[in-house]
């Protein structure tokens, strides 16, 4: 392959977006060409630097509640609304009595939401590190069982909270087992699921303060998909390199259980 042809493919090569054959040809050329290799390294260094340094702007507190409030919800809210107006017309939506009570409830729990975005970043990093470590050390589980009646009691002797445990083999997410892990300065539960050849770790940790239920939020850390949510005083994180849709499917199963 000529330098000029390779230069056209360099960006895709840096992003690992080339087809197998092109990838091999470019790789071969780079081995023997210092100039092209220098270009490749420059672009790769830049990409890596952008990923580490550019800010990922997370949604500010309150935005999610405002969006939810603008969507149709309980029938009570609808009954009290001005007839003829669509409920989700923003911002002219008339505040119905039921919705007002709902907003008040939301507003009063915002103050109790003690986990700040910065903390979540750090916990997310720890979660992904734990996930990767569990794959490397070939030590994913301390208790090997797909039976929730074996795994759940195993945790209850070791933790001061009781994570829900369910097997979803019939839906394509068999439970491999569980182990203890250490995240955010405390011992937490890790449930290990398998999806085809991929491992999914689901961490359960007690939620801070009196944190209210939080809907799933998807993220991506170091190339791994993460989903976190809070329910009944517990925060859950699901991590995997499995396809995002599959991870969301498992999350939906866990939340419905």
């Amino acid at each position: 392959m000529e330098c000029s042809a390779v230069r056209k493919l360099l960006t895709a090569a840096v992003d690992a977006e080339l087809e197998l054959r092109e990838s091999a040809e470019v790789g071969c050329h780079l081995e023997g060409c210092a100039d092209c290799r220098a270009q490749f390294e420059r672009e790769r260094a830049l990409r890596s630097a952008v990923r580490s340094n550019a800010t990922y702007f997370r949604a500010p507190a309150g935005l999610e509640e405002r969006i939810r409030a603008a969507l149709p919800s309980a029938p009570a809210a609808r009954v009290a609304a001005v007839p003829g107006r669509k409920l989700w017309q923003w911002p002219q939506w008339p505040i119905a009595v039921g919705a007002l009570a709902g907003l008040f409830a939301v507003a009063s729990t915002i103050g109790l939401y003690t986990t700040l975005p910065g903390v979540d970043e750090r916990i997310g990093d720890e979660i992904v590190s734990s996930h990767v470590r569990s794959l490397l050390a070939d030590h994913a589980v301390d208790i090997v069982s797909s039976d929730q009646h074996t795994v759940k009691p195993w945790f209850s002797g070791k933790l001061d909270f009781s994570p829900p445990v369910r097997d979803f083999a019939s839906e394509g997410f068999p439970l491999v087992g569980g182990r203890l892990d250490y995240v955010d300065h405390r011992t937490v539960a890790a449930l290990v699921y398998r999806r085809a050849k991929h491992t999914i770790n689901v961490f359960a940790l007690p939620a801070p303060g009196r944190a209210s239920d939080a809907a799933p939020r998807a993220g991506s850390t170091h190339g791994f998909h993460t989903v976190r949510w809070t329910r009944d005083g517990m925060t859950f994180w699901a991590v995997s390199d499995v396809a995002a849709e599959d991870l969301m499917r498992l999350v939906a199963l866990l939340r419905a259980a």
Binding site: D15, L46, V50, N53, A70, P72
Partner: protein, 186 residues
């Protein structure tokens, strides 16, 4: 499907990607307040068109709507910013179609080492013309594949790659300029 069911399903599909939506809007509009307005508007539009949503992942679908909402908003409020030409020749050094400016830096990592000021990256990226900025943000900040970016921006995959290539080169040049204390104008 009742409104409540529709609403619940929509929330399950779209809300997990709220951060992604805000991040894109914030990078395109370059303002927290505007990004909030844009994201709220985008979610409303997304809900209205939700009946037509078919697909596994809500993220590309939602971000396409966020992007369109951004552009509409920018056209209405800040149309001047959509057409600023980028001056490649500010330091008299043109960026060839081939690649990054040649080696003042034998070690490319050095230019980014220590990142004594992480803000430099934010500033430099914000300076890119919008079509290159969105490519770099979707790829290097949001971690989307070329195929996903192509569907969000509604361009062919080849164009994704060329905008990304050019965007990264511009970014490299801008960072070099900033580090050397010569600020490129836009």
């Amino acid at each position: 499907m009742t409104d409540e069911t529709q609403s619940r399903r929509f929330q399950e599909v779209a809300l997990p990607h709220l951060d992604a939506a805000y991040n894109l809007a914030r990078w395109l509009a370059r303002s927290d307040d505007d990004a909030k307005d844009i994201v709220q508007e985008a979610f409303l539009r997304a809900f209205k068109s939700f009946a037509g949503f078919r697909g596994a992942s809500g993220r590309p679908w939602l971000l396409a709507i966020v992007r369109n909402t951004c552009y509409t908003w920018l056209r209405q409020h800040r149309s001047a910013q959509l057409e600023v030409p980028y001056d490649d020749d500010v330091t008299g050094e043109a960026l060839g179609a081939d690649g990054f400016p040649e080696g003042r830096d034998p070690n490319p990592e050095a230019i980014f080492a220590a990142s004594e000021d992480r803000r430099l990256f934010d500033v430099a990226l914000a300076k890119l013309p919008i079509e290159f900025r969105e490519a770099v943000v979707l790829r290097d900040v949001e971690d989307m594949s070329y195929k996903e970016i192509a569907s969000v921006v509604a361009i062919p995959i080849g164009t994704v790659m060329s905008r990304l290539a050019r965007g990264r080169r511009m970014l490299y040049a801008e960072l070099t300029r900033m580090r050397e204390g010569v600020s490129g104008g836009m």
